[in-house]
């Protein structure tokens, strides 16, 4: 389901409140049923959907609610808050420190968009005036170094890699040492795609991580991924210290996806280097639901 469809379905469920003459348990349940169905269709984990329903219901107590209260607004804002919670793990996102070498390591499943996103992130910081560089520690995928090299060259970002060295740990280590020595502030390390079923690949990821001691490990997640995502994401997090998530391919058909315990910091919205934006949960949900004003509603 397209993300916009999910937004439309939830919005139409919320709107059913405005059409009802009185807001009672039955109306609320009907609305929640619609929302939950839409979320499930968007591949959101069933446990999370259940929790969302229970949380909204626990906020709204028809017996104790004073007559004058605007039940519609209360329900709407409860739904909004829960949707935000679904995406926001409530952990503060990592921020690089100016004037210091910040090493960022990218990890993720095969083809999720790591290499493309590395350049996007480097370009983003470079435009903001940070001294930025890229390292290709993927010696496995055919053409991986050429891909990073071409992207980096086009965006005028210094890069490091090798056509002959086959050990990614070595390249990562040498590259980081070199750029640290040159006082680069944002040092981004691209790695090969991998999956939890292959131990040797996960072990290699740990070794690269140990070799470069990253300040931040970013898990790159393809928005089109289905239910398999959750167990993969968890496995990555168990092996290395994943502290941020970037969701890619949000321009295509996108699923809501499951919740992760690391904050989403950026989203990829296309194949070009500037198809990239910082991710903010509340505006994202507002936009999803096409309700610009609801944010203000929460603050009241």
């Amino acid at each position: 389901m397209v993300l916009a469809d999910l937004g439309r379905k939830i919005t139409s469920a919320l709107r059913s409140l405005s059409h009802a003459t009185i807001i009672n348990e039955e109306v609320l349940n009907g609305m929640l049923k619609e929302i939950c169905a839409a979320l499930l269709e968007a591949d959101v984990n069933i446990k999370l959907v259940k929790q969302l329903r229970e949380n909204v219901r626990s906020v709204i107590d028809f017996d104790e609610m004073a007559g004058g209260l605007n039940k519609r607004r209360m329900i709407q804002s409860a739904v909004f808050k829960e949707l935000v919670k679904l995406i926001d793990p409530g952990v503060k996102a990592w921020q690089p420190v100016k004037g210091k070498s910040n090493v960022i390591m990218f990890v993720g499943l095969q083809g999720s968009g790591k290499t493309t996103t590395c350049t996007k992130l480097a370009y983003y910081y470079q435009k903001k005036g940070w001294k930025t560089c890229l390292i290709c520690a993927d010696t496995f995928r055919a053409g991986a170094f050429d891909q990073l090299k071409q992207n980096a060259t086009k965006a005028r970002i210094p890069f490091y890699g090798s056509y002959t060295e086959i050990d990614p740990v070595m390249i990562a280590h040498e590259g980081v040492e070199k750029f640290r020595g040159e006082n680069f502030e944002i040092i981004i390390v691209d790695t090969s795609g991998r999956h939890k079923q292959e131990d040797s690949l996960f072990e290699e990821m740990l070794q690269v991580s140990n070799a470069v001691s990253p300040d931040n490990v970013i898990f790159v997640m393809d928005a089109t991924i289905g239910q398999a995502c959750e167990s993969q994401a968890r496995a990555f997090k168990e092996k290395v210290d994943v502290a941020s998530v970037i969701i890619t391919k949000l321009d295509g058909h996108a699923k809501g996806g499951g919740a992760l315990s690391a904050p989403v910091i950026f989203i990829g919205t296309g194949e070009h280097t500037d198809d990239f934006e910082p991710f903010k949960v509340q505006p994202f949900v507002s936009k999803l639901l096409g309700m610009g004003d609801i944010e203000g509603l929460i603050d009241k």
Binding site: Q110, G111, A142, Q197
Partner: protein, 267 residues
């Protein structure tokens, strides 16, 4: 290990469960059997006898494994004695051409010309980046015809369903394979339908050529969830011709209907 796959690929085998569990096997549509795969070798042979190259195009969204599985299929075709031309028609993504060049080099190293009366078993047809993909595909086919190369494998960029000339050119090859990853779950069906629709829209024939078969990749990255496989074949009636089970040339299998049922029962 070269030679081990000659003539055929291994099936994905059910683990060890007893036979009784498979009573409902018949309900799996015939489309998940290996019938279609055998046709590729036969049809390619037939084209060879007619002295024309047999052309297979790989399509699908970004990053699903089009180029990698193209290389695996290339290996399988070489093992079966065919000479192959890879057409680099992804002229957009950085490194796409070099990726195929690397595969071409590795595949020729596995099957050196010395073993094949001095002939290179696989060649790359490329025109760099930024060029018209459809034009390159056509040139590649002509080149293959002139040089008596048996099979042309056309690699394409991720979002080509919007590329009208390429979609129109695609209505010509012998086989269009849709590459979808097992990871995406039911979304794969949507993607496939989109491509089919694009093929139909851009064709001026009354009976347009649609996707002929599916390659389901990254089967090794999912635990027991084979929903995508089932829904894709059921919804579209198109066969899963190959299953990708890893990142090396030999990680290519048939989908065994029995294995699917097995996984479903376990799930």
């Amino acid at each position: 290990f070269v030679g081990q796959m000659k003539g055929g690929l291994r099936d994905i085998e059910p683990d060890s469960e007893s036979e009784e569990e498979f009573e409902e096997e018949e309900e799996i549509p015939e489309t998940t059997t290996n019938k279609a795969r055998i046709d590729i070798l036969r049809d390619a042979m037939e084209a060879k006898q007619q002295k024309r190259p047999f052309c297979i195009t790989f399509c699908g969204v970004n990053g699903v494994g089009k180029s990698t599985n193209l290389a695996k299929i290339c290996f399988w075709l070489i093992e079966n004695g065919f000479r192959v031309l890879i057409a680099a028609c992804d002229t957009f993504r950085a490194g796409a051409v070099e990726q195929l060049r690397t595969h071409t080099r590795k595949l020729n190293a596995l099957h050196p010309p010395e073993q094949h009366s001095g002939q290179h078993m696989v060649q790359l047809y490329e025109k760099g980046y930024g060029k018209d993909a459809a034009g390159i595909a056509m040139e590649a086919i002509n080149y293959a015809r002139d040089c008596h190369i048996d099979i042309v494998l056309v690699d394409t960029a991720g979002r080509m369903q919007d590329n009208e000339p390429l979609m129109r050119a695609l209505s010509k090859p012998d086989l269009v394979l849709f590459v979808g990853e097992a990871l995406v779950g039911n979304e794969a069906v949507d993607q496939l339908m989109k491509f089919n629709q694009a093929l139909a829209d851009h064709s001026n024939m009354t009976n347009p050529r649609l996707i002929d078969g599916i390659i389901l990749t990254k089967f090794d990255t999912i635990d027991d969830k084979v929903g995508a496989a089932i829904s894709m074949t059921y919804t579209t009636g198109q066969p899963i011709v190959f299953v990708g089970t890893g990142q090396t040339y030999t990680d290519l299998r048939n989908l065994n209907a029995r294995a699917v049922v097995n996984a479903l029962l376990k799930a």
